[in-house]
């Protein structure tokens, strides 16, 4: 008799929870070791509620995954939540009414107060409504330096970009490639952005990226940026690798002096067992301007018909931005959290540098937020062509750059 009651009670409980519990399919392109560990923090936290996280990882980088994600949403088979970079990539999807409005969740969670820098939330906002959850901050303007390489060359590890350029001949003499560079277009474009902040200064950067000011793009300061970029190009002679992590590996092994790359590169140093300050040095803003651009990832929630799913989507959105999940996720990912009120004492030196800059408010808009995918693609084409073809003069490249900025949107 007792057993029957227990069984009945158990069945009743199962039945009760199965009413509200739903399975949410979440797509993302975090497939490398550290990334997968980070995303599993989300999954763990979400599975701890009555709902289930159905992982839909898409192999390949964002360039491969984004078209798949977008075509699924357009094709009427939307996933329940998906990673995208906030900013312009999903703009048209939001305009077409395909994304869930998260404004009520954001108001309940006070996102406007906790998200730092607030620009991240602007990237999710369209016509005053919020459509995505920013989850982390990645900044591209970092210079990674190998202590081994500079020791071999017999010079001190430089403190900024200009000292690095001066030390380059010594590196060459020691048979070290001064600057490692992966040959993919986005990497050369990233390096240009970093050099632009360091050499051209933040005002020029903001004027071009935010205001799309073609006159600023044609200015003499910009010519200096292109000149510095052309110099950087000659420093990378002999670096014939494709992928960014191969280029980072050249720095790790001391075959190259440095690499201009985003803060996600530090994951590679960590995996290789290197210690910041001892084996390698990281210089945000290339050591010239202690400032970082705040790109990063965000989650969007495609609209569904089922109100239960919608409730679960909103629950997931609130969960992703909650302090505990933010800390757990970002420590694994090696990125900075999007809220300023969490404790990241477990972070390594490079992350701490980033956190300080963030706390001081020295932040810039990122290319992902400023340019449409179309304009970004044009810039990438120009940068990778210039980087590989020494017959293009600085003046020609700048003239074409001005043309792109003029028609940019």
């Amino acid at each position: 008799m007792k057993l029957t009651t227990k069984l009945l009670a158990a069945t009743a409980m199962v039945a009760a929870s199965s009413v509200s519990a739903v399975e949410l399919e979440v797509t993302h392109w975090w497939t490398s070791g550290g990334e997968a560990a980070a995303v599993s923090e989300f999954a763990k936290a979400f599975d701890a509620t009555e709902h289930t996280w159905l992982d839909g990882a898409i192999a390949g980088s964002g360039g491969t995954a984004r078209p798949i994600i977008i075509s699924r949403i357009l094709g009427g088979d939307p996933m329940h939540a998906t990673q995208l970079n906030h900013g312009r990539q999903a703009e048209e999807l939001v305009e077409a009414g395909l994304m869930l409005d998260l404004t009520d969740v954001a108001e309940a969670g006070g996102w406007a107060d906790v998200v730092n820098p607030s620009r991240l939330l602007d990237g999710c906002t369209l016509d005053g409504k919020i459509y995505c959850v920013p989850v982390n901050i990645h900044s591209p303007q970092w210079l990674w330096l190998s202590h081994d390489a500079f020791e071999k060359a017999g010079v001190d590890v430089p403190a900024d970009w200009f000292a690095f350029v001066e030390a380059a001949p010594a590196l060459r003499d020691a048979d070290v490639i001064p600057l490692a560079m992966g040959q993919q277009a986005w990497q050369t474009s990233l390096a240009f952005g970093a050099i632009m902040v360091a050499v051209g200064g933040t005002e020029l950067y903001i004027d071009v990226l935010t205001n799309k000011n073609a006159e600023a793009a044609a200015s003499e300061d910009m010519t200096k940026v292109f000149q510095a970029y052309a110099d950087a190009r000659s420093l990378s002679d002999g670096s014939n690798v494709q992928d960014w992590n191969q280029a980072t590996n050249l720095v790790i092994t001391g075959m190259a002096g440095g690499q201009i790359h985003g803060d996600w590169a530090q994951g590679e140093f960590q995996v290789a067992g290197q210690v910041a300050g001892e084996d390698y040095t990281c210089l945000p803003g290339l050591g010239v301007n202690e400032i970082i651009a705040t790109g990063g990832d965000a989650f969007y929630f495609p609209k569904q018909d089922d109100p239960e799913i919608e409730a679960a989507q909103k629950e997931l959105a609130a969960l992703m931005i909650s302090p505990e999940v933010q800390v757990a996720f970002n420590l694994k990912k090696g990125s900075l959290p999007i809220r300023g009120d969490v404790d990241l004492s477990a972070a390594n030196d490079c992350m701490k540098k980033g956190l300080e800059i963030l706390a001081a408010g020295n932040v810039l808009p990122d290319g992902v937020n400023a340019y449409s995918a179309d304009t970004a693609g044009q810039l990438e084409d120009l940068m990778v062509e210039f980087w590989n073809d020494t017959s293009i003069t600085v003046e020609d490249a700048q003239a074409r750059y001005v043309g792109i900025i003029e028609s940019a949107d």
Binding site: G63, E91, E92, Q183, Q184, A373, V384
Partner: protein, 307 residues
């Protein structure tokens, strides 16, 4: 011709309507006709229309911009380089794979021993996808791992062969892989054509004392015209759509030196989220095919009716 003509008149006498002749075959063809009309013609027209609009991530049929996309397309260096690469790759691969294929076929045709084995070996690359071909040749042409290193180890220290990292000749590096992959297939096609030539032709030429190479060039090749046309169409289609080979082997690099039009279209449409521009580029690709195809079709089919 004469036989079928009389056949048709007989049928016409029995059954007044030609529409119902071979009814089963016609019904069977309906899905294909439907597909051809709706999918190929319909979608082509849809694409051409949208190439005149400012379509970004989503098709926007109401944002008409005229020739803007085409102006931008022809002003873009990357597109011009793509076209140039396609021209070089196309011309060389057409000439070389036909020549190599024909020579190999003629050699095999001399009734050599182990013909089957050799034929299989030469045809084998065709069984590999372009992605595998591209990767394999990326390694072979890698200066530190492949050909250059091997030759240097043998003793020729100054030997340099590094096409994939040299913007001026990178397209020839791609070409080598393309020909390696494709010429075996051309050979098999042409060999089949040669086997179809009557033994008596060879006997006659032997009686006349004509050397074998002359027989091939002046008698066999003209007789194999239909086979050549088939091979030509298949090779050309492969050239226009070359994409995976480049992606696997060089991903368009160094810089943008080995870009091809198909890659441009895919990337503009799906990565740069500019459908209008991608459609304009694909319309130009279609146009370039038509420019070649229409005069050829006119000569091939129009000529026969008159003659």
């Amino acid at each position: 011709m004469a036989v079928t003509d009389t056949g048709q008149t007989k049928v016409r006498a029995k059954r007044p309507s030609r529409l119902f002749k071979n009814m089963a075959a016609k019904i069977a063809a309906i899905p294909m006709i439907f597909t051809a009309l709706v999918v190929f013609v319909g979608c082509t027209l849809w694409t051409i229309y949208h190439s005149f609009t400012r379509s970004r991530l989503l098709p926007a049929p109401d944002k008409w911009v005229g020739l803007d996309n085409y102006e931008r397309l022809w002003g873009e260096n990357r597109w011009l380089i793509s076209i140039e690469n396609l021209a070089i790759y196309g011309l060389c691969s057409l000439v070389l794979s036909l020549t190599i294929g024909f020579v190999l076929a003629a050699l095999l045709d001399r009734k050599i021993r182990f013909e089957n084995t050799i034929r299989t070996i030469i045809l084998y690359p065709f069984a590999l996808s372009f992605v595998v071909t591209g990767l394999a040749w990326q390694w072979i042409l890698n200066p530190e791992l492949g050909l250059q290193n091997t030759v240097r180890n043998i003793g020729w220290e100054s030997f340099t062969f590094d096409p994939l990292n040299n913007a001026d000749i990178v397209i020839y590096g791609v070409l080598i892989a393309g020909i390696w992959q494709g010429s075996g297939f051309v050979m098999v096609l042409l060999l089949a054509g040669m086997r179809g030539i009557d033994e008596d032709v060879w006997k006659a030429s032997r009686v006349e004392g004509i050397p074998a190479w002359k027989t091939y060039i002046f008698i066999v090749i003209p007789m194999m015209r239909p086979v050549f046309v088939t091979a030509l169409v298949i090779i050309s289609a492969g050239i226009i759509k070359v994409y995976d080979l480049v992606v696997a082997q060089t991903s368009g690099g160094p810089g943008i030196a080995s870009e091809v039009p198909a890659k441009y279209v895919i990337e503009k449409m799906f990565q740069a989220q500019n459908l209008g521009l991608g459609f304009a580029a694909s319309t130009m690709m279609l146009l370039s095919v038509l420019v070649v195809l229409i005069p050829w079709a006119y000569l091939e089919f129009g000529g026969k009716k008159n003659g």
